[in-house]
Amino acid sequence: MNAVEFILAGMLAAATPFLLAALGEMVVERAGVLNLGVEGLMALGAVIAFIVVYHGGGHFLGFITAGISAALLSLVFAFIALGFRANQVATGLAIGILGQGLSALFGKTYESLTVKGLPKIAIPGLSEIPVIGGLFVQDIVVWLSLLATLVIWATFAFTKTGLVIRAVGENPKAAHAIGYPVIGVRVAAVAFGGMMAGFAGAYASVIYTPLWADGMIAGRGWIAIALVVFGTWLTGRIFLGACLFGAVSLMSLAAQATGLDLPSQLLSSLPYLVTIIVLGIISADRRRLKMNGVASLGEPFEH
């Protein structure tokens, strides 16, 4: 296997935690809420999924419980930030720290234990193509994440639900005036975002790196939030950004393994640089950027 095949084969799996968390956060932000607690929500999902899988509950149950527990924690955020109209930035940070603390607490006795990941599923035919064949050998969660990306894109592009979420984010007063439950929609979006972050954490701890170690999310939640902004709240761009980030982070490791004469510190920072540059270029058009931005992001709603 050469370096290119290695990157293509690993890119989607490396992107999946970022993709799931970023798509969830995108829905939250589209509804006008800024939840900065993604890192903590991912950590909580990761530890819950790990505990369930470790005790023989299976990966499916692990993901479900991870999604539910992270959604519940994000509802605490909703309760404070939407119910009491507290500052969303501060509340999100607090919930994030709480999530990391809880994950450390629950994971205390599971520190550096391992579980089995999931087998990869190859798409017959496509997976035999030389060089790019590796792209089509992925575990089930990667395939489901791609499906989720499509569904979320279609929801915003074609359905009334998508329009309602956008209306609530763009102009909550108008949405309220025509009878939509602004707070209800926002709470649902926050819970959905929490669930997706929980899935992202679960993917990290029981499939991608099937072990639990406190702090293993290692800043991935923050990258997911950044991807939403750089992807200008568009599903396709966020998908592109996550894949790019995954590919370039693998590339920086593969480059070292092949003995390329570049400083490793530079290679380590490449994923960030490349993602910022590429997404910066495609969103350089300020008028379109303004069009995609969410008008009421982070503002509490009062009627």
Partner: protein
């Protein structure tokens, strides 16, 4: 107002030194319970650096019973937070501090200078004070032996190492690993991936997979605290080994061995000295001869003749007749590292900033 002048500084330094000398003689009351605090940057698991340090305190507890009280503070980030926490634990009356990470150096040294009755042991540093000893393990002695085993088992002639940061301690382990491998197969190559993080299991595992994709068939997990690399190697069916504590249970088939560290002889001796009032800060660099470094859990796949050679060299390392860094050693850039017949002194080993010939990956500057 006192001005900050060279003379005043000298006076202050002399006073601290004097206080240190007096303090270590008179401050310890023999019947008092000694509080020992261990501060480490990562969570304590079943394996890894933190585990090795905390396990090193068990014989101390067993020997002294109620006379010592051990507190372990884990997951303490290096920086101001660590300084605050170390100050707090000393203020609470714990007079024996083990600062388990390089980055704690300045804060721990300040504590030692301020209070001569406190004894401080500091991991992998270079500063020394009358009541402040840096300590490090000669991991390279073990990684040399595992390099021999790796070369005997490798079919591709390519070995790999997933390494945390390009600091001398990790560079020496890679160099010794390479030299050991070359002792068995002279043209063997070692590729290194620096993950530039002490703790990121996902990235470490990706790095291991990147090396495996480049046909490396023995991987050295260099300073990872979780079985990230070891379990990825078991899955891929390539041999792997690590430092500090055994991870055999994560790779029952392909676990090559462990350069384990047992800190208990050093911790016990230091606590003994603290009680006796004879503790004297010194740079302690401990290896096979001190029974601190030991290779355990050798894989049965290693050919018998290689194993015999390994055991011979291990005995020679223990009695001091062999050092992995014995010349001639050529640097990766082709210049002379160690002259023929010469042995590198410890002082140079701890500051090594070049790779030996045979390490394919250039060293980050």
């Amino acid at each position: 107002m006192t001005h900050l002048t060279r003379r005043n500084l000298m006076k202050a330094a002399a006073a601290t030194g004097l206080a240190g000398a007096l303090g270590s003689r008179f401050a310890v009351a023999a019947d008092e319970q000694l509080g020992i605090t261990l501060v480490i940057p990562s969570p304590i698991g079943d394996v890894g650096w933190g585990h090795a340090l905390s396990a090193g305190l068990d014989p101390v507890k067993a020997a002294y019973g109620d006379k010592v009280r051990v507190t372990i503070l884990e997951n303490i980030a290096e920086g101001p937070d660590a300084d605050r926490i170390m100050n707090k634990t000393v203020a609470d009356g714990n007079k024996f501090l083990i600062a388990g990470s390089f980055g704690y150096q300045n804060g721990a040294l300040q504590i030692a200078r301020r209070d001569p009755s406190v004894t401080v042991l500091h991991a992998s540093g270079f500063q020394v004070a009358p009541n402040f000893s840096p300590f490090a393990a000669k991991y390279f002695q073990g990684s040399y032996l595992l390099g021999m085993a790796a070369a005997a088992l490798s079919k591709t002639g390519k070995l790999g190492s997933v390494s945390a940061f390009a600091i001398p301690e990790l560079i020496t382990t890679i160099n010794a690993f390479t030299l050991g491998a070359q002792a068995v197969k002279p043209d063997i190559e070692v590729s290194v991936v620096w993950v530039n993080s002490w703790f990121d299991p996902a990235k470490e595992q990706e790095a291991a997979k990147a090396l495996i994709a480049q046909q490396c068939d023995v991987i050295f997990s260099n300073a990872q605290d979780t079985p990230s690399v070891i379990s990825a190697c078991e899955e891929a069916g390539v041999y792997a080994f690590n430092l500090n504590s055994s991870m055999k249970k994560y790779a029952p088939k392909t676990y090559l061995g462990c350069v384990s560290t047992d800190w208990s002889p050093f911790f016990k001796a230091s606590v003994d000295a603290h009680f006796a009032g004879t503790f004297k800060g010194a740079n302690t660099f401990l290896g096979v001869a001190d029974k601190v470094v030991k290779v355990v859990d050798w894989n049965p796949d290693i050919p018998a003749d290689t194993m015999t050679k390994i055991k011979e060299l291990e005995a020679k390392i223990a009695d001091g007749t062999f050092s992995p860094f014995t010349g001639p050693i050529t640097k990766a850039d082709g210049s002379e590292g160690v002259a023929s017949g010469a042995t590198m002194p410890d002082g140079e080993i701890v500051a090594m900033d070049w790779h030996v010939k045979g390490v394919a990956t250039p060293l980050p500057k």
